[in-house]
Amino acid sequence: MVFSSLTFLCIFLPAVLLLYNVSRSVTYRNAVITVSSLVFYAWGDPAFLLLLIAASFVNYILAIIMDRYYGLWQSKMILAAAVVLDAALLGVFKYTAFFVGSINSALGLSLSVPGIALPLGISFYTFQIISYMADVYRGEARAQRSYLKFLTFISMFPKITSGPIARYPQLERSLSKRQVRPQDFADGARRFILGLGKKVVLADCSGESASLLLGAASHATAGSAWLGMIFYTFQLYFDFSGYSDMAVGIGKMLGFSLPENFDHPYIARSITDFWRRWHISLSRFFRDYVYIPLGGNRRLQMRNILVVWLLTGLWHGASWNFVLWGLYYGVLLMIEKTFFKWWSKIPVLSNITTMFAVVIGWTIFYFTDLSQLGTFFGYLFGQGCPLFDLTTVSTLCSNAWLLAACILASTPLPKMVFEYVSSLKYAGAVIECTVLAAVFVGCIALLTGATSTPFLYVQF
């Protein structure tokens, strides 16, 4: 199930919130979250529900045993076994076909490529499990003794399919004791509606323009290539950050404080800055569990950067373009850290160059076929195609205000204006409620009669 569906908005969410608030018992509330999360997860793809339950159960048991041997060599062995097991789970389901296909291409073999379906949210929940095991091993948290609470943490529907990747110590306390204050619920509701607006209005409508300009049905022109990638750039951001806003919002309404995942990445002044603002929970995962253990800035920094970015690329997808995309950022970061640290001090120019690099990055990210990617880079720089055509002009005109809204919404300005207006005593309440109601009703209208538009990050 996705948040931006009528089933979720009209039936699932009202029902869950209603049932959740029937009792204040934490056990009851955990049970409501867990059962509803399993229904949410299984909706449309029930085959892998058992995998989720089994993976969480095995790690739940391993963590308890590891906790018992805390500080002893046995705990290290158990951690290693758990990480290997979880990585293998991800490897089998996500990368088997990729590796077999790559071996076939490299060695000219014709091994049969297994057609393994990718379980929903597997990249997110395996990373969450690995981080839990590492935190228990390090003593940052005690192993959870209640399987219900552990399953609530792993399967929590706001974050199961697309993150943010929550660290167990952040939520440990809330799993046992939490209350939803009126302010939390109101903040959560506000955050949810604005996130829904980002996804349904800005992301999906930008996505329509991107598909039109980048799809096979359009003639290739340099203008369409750039405009299409710009729309795709906005689609990715509003899709993922809208989802994260909704996840954080629902979390608040249920009494959990989920981590932030975005901080206006498109106003970044450097690639380093961009990755501090984009998919923050994933960057922190790699920083804490890969980069720093490898030596971080102190030992073999360049190697560590390359390893982290190779893994980041692979995490996003089992395809060579994702590997290339990860290495692209790894190399850019090495160059930036070595030669261009001063560049970010130049305003505007540094913003423009960063966004240029980001758009080029999303181009690599978009094309899973490397030959298509090569051809498309040619189009971006006017090779073998005209500058623009009627489709370019028409799409630009008919989405001009949408594009302007996307640019504006990528900055902190709308949030500042909204917060200022909301702070006004009487007019603020009217304006805030009008905006929230208009966004919600507008989203319901846009979703009516539309085909389902799942979140882009669900596939990772």
Binding site: P182, A186, D187, S218, H219, S398, G428, G449
Partner: protein
């Protein structure tokens, strides 16, 4: 205080959404789309495990939500705020297209004034397969059976070059396919006939041609086949009703107050004694004849389905006024449905076979009807669907 206001508002919005969802369904908005609303899926272990129930339930909610028509109008209003449409530029929107074969292609529509037109994007590999399929069919024909190929271009091809150049050339595609057909197949030049003609040749909100457009095709066909087309003036021109076609459904959210089409037809049944049999054959060899008493025109339909009630696996039309006339088998997509009402005036029997649903053997049908001619009539977009080409090829087996 504000926290309570926002909380109450959110609860009201969710309650409102639930109320609209469970409220009376807006069946009119579905009827306007010429389809039936999705039904509540069956709840069983099998349907739940396969995911069929969830998918069906989402469709059910989408189709049966209250105020659906109003919400879709609001959706259109929201989208119209995203930009502006310069009068001379028109608007290009993305969509998907399918021809009922299972394959779905990304496609674009061009909206100019009140016309909605599909934009052609050629697929050379599929076009090769199309030509190969026709050549393979020609190889299987008994001696003496003539074969024709008619590929019909669409409306956008004949618009101002400012617009038509935004798509791939349909003419180039048709010419390329015709060049590959070999000597056993005669191409029918319907392109020139349509380019020279004026009038209401294509619907504005539907991807099909009108019966006037189809008459151009009929004349071009008779020119190629060496016959004489009957005059259009000999039949009464009637207007059945206004309607919005299939492209309107895809573009409705982008249109402000679009003009409807008019279903115009020439009453060929009035002057000709026609007898129609519809037949479905199944892979196990069994067959079902149906459609007793049906005619060329289906009065129950208000759109392009008016012609023969839509696509059927096999339709046999006998013209009792030409008892010794020739028999032609037309392998076709829906474009032929407006053409055949003209063709029946020149043949003793016309048999329409739709490869998308026909499961029988073309060879057996040719023998059964002692066909004199075979024509393959499709609109040019059909050549971009690889699975349609595969179905055509299957007829040669």
């Amino acid at each position: 205080m504000r926290k309570y206001i926002v909380t109450v508002l959110f609860v009201l919005l969710l309650a409102g959404a639930a109320a609209v969802c469970f409220g009376p369904a807006d069946t009119e908005s579905i009827t306007a789309e010429n389809r039936e609303a999705a039904a509540m899926p069956e709840l069983s272990l099998d349907t739940v495990v396969s995911g069929e129930f969830a998918g069906g339930f989402d469709s059910y909610v989408n189709d049966n939500i209250g105020l659906r028509g109003r919400l879709m109008e609001l959706s259109g209003a929201v989208k119209s705020c995203f930009g502006f449409t310069p009068r001379l530029v028109g608007k290009v929107i993305s969509t998907t297209s399918d021809i009922g074969t299972g394959e779905t292609l990304d496609s674009s529509l061009m909206l100019i004034d009140s016309k909605i037109m599909e934009m052609f994007s050629d697929k050379p590999e599929a076009e090769n397969s199309y030509a190969e399929a026709l050549v393979n069919i020609a190889e299987t024909l008994p001696d003496g059976v003539e074969m024709y190929s008619m590929l019909v271009p669409t409306q956008l091809e004949f618009e101002d070059p400012l617009y038509s150049n935004a798509q791939d050339s349909q003419k180039s595609c048709i010419d390329a396919i015709n060049e590959r057909l070999g000597s056993k197949i005669t191409p029918v030049d319907v392109y020139s006939a349509l380019a020279e003609a004026d009038g209401y040749l294509y619907f504005k909100t539907d991807h099909h041609w009108t019966m006037d457009g189809a008459y151009c095709g009929y004349e071009a066909f008779m020119n190629s086949a060496g016959g004489e087309a009957v005059s259009k003036d000999g039949f009464e021109r009637k207007e059945k009703n206004d309607f919005y076609g299939t492209l309107y459904l895809k573009a409705r959210s982008q249109l402000n107050d679009p003009e409807p089409d008019t279903l115009v037809y020439y009453d060929v049944e009035e002057k000709t004694d026609l007898e129609i049999v519809m037949r479905a054959e199944y892979e196990d060899g069994s067959a079902l004849e149906y459609g007793e008493g049906s005619g060329v025109f289906n009065d129950e339909k208000d759109d392009y389905l008016f012609f023969f009630g839509g696509d059927q696996p096999l339709i046999e039309i006998t013209n009792n006024d030409i008892p010794d006339g020739k028999t032609i088998i037309v392998i076709k997509d829906s474009y032929a449905n407006a053409l055949v009402p003209w063709l029946v005036n020149s043949y003793g029997r016309v048999v329409m076979i739709d490869p998308r649903s026909f499961e029988g053997s073309l060879k057996e049908e040719i023998e059964r009807y002692e066909a004199d001619e075979v024509a393959v009539v499709n609109y040019v977009f059909t050549t971009t669907f690889t699975d349609y080409c595969a179905l055509l090829n299957g007829l040669a087996e």
